[in-house]
Symmetry: C2
């Protein structure tokens, strides 16, 4: 974790070189986290955690976002009182070309099949 957390409002992220395929796949193997990532991909912008209205407790929601952040799938930053999340598309594409698109496409197909 080379992004030093200078204070509690700075969140730790793995460097691009620290992102592991297994961690990315694990992060995306949970339906709720996969939904979050699909929404971030569709919106193509940073979103506040509150945008998602997940049907879980605040702490569970925070856990899901933390797993996504610590695996390198998303970046998170505080803007005022909001914690904003965004996909690390460029990092993932540089490391694993086509992977994110394949997973998003698969999620879309599965959702279409119900």
């Amino acid at each position: 974790m080379s992004t030093a957390a200078a204070n509690s409002r700075e969140l730790a992220h793995p460097d691009r070189t620290e992102i592991r395929l297994e961690g990315v796949l694990h992060a995306l193997s949970d339906p709720m986290r996969l939904n979050i990532v699909c929404a971030l991909a569709m919106e193509e912008r940073e979103l506040a955690c509150s945008f998602f209205e997940l049907p879980v407790s605040k702490s569970t929601s925070t856990h899901h976002f933390r797993v996504l952040r610590e695996s390198g799938v998303i970046q998170q930053v505080y803007r005022g009182t909001a914690k904003m999340s965004g996909l690390r598309r460029d990092d993932l594409e540089a490391l694993f070309p086509g992977l994110l698109e394949a997973i998003l496409g698969a999620a879309d197909l599965q959702a279409g099949r119900g």
Copy 2:
């Protein structure tokens, strides 16, 4: 699980329609299971579990193969005394076009980076 296990030597597999993306990603999120799948893809044939010489106990090895089978990533069948495993490439490609190749490619790139 519609492949009925008529006896203890028949192993249960999910139908193609029962395979879930989250389950596939979870199965591949473990380094050992990812290695098994890469080897099956490279060899392009059924392999006996004993082929892999995994550095874990027999029961842990059996667990990893079971996770891969129950998620729909591999099929397993007894041939004599050997339990043979093969990738369900056609099923995965039909459900999630390009997904397996993207993950195998990503694993290959990561291995190359060491």
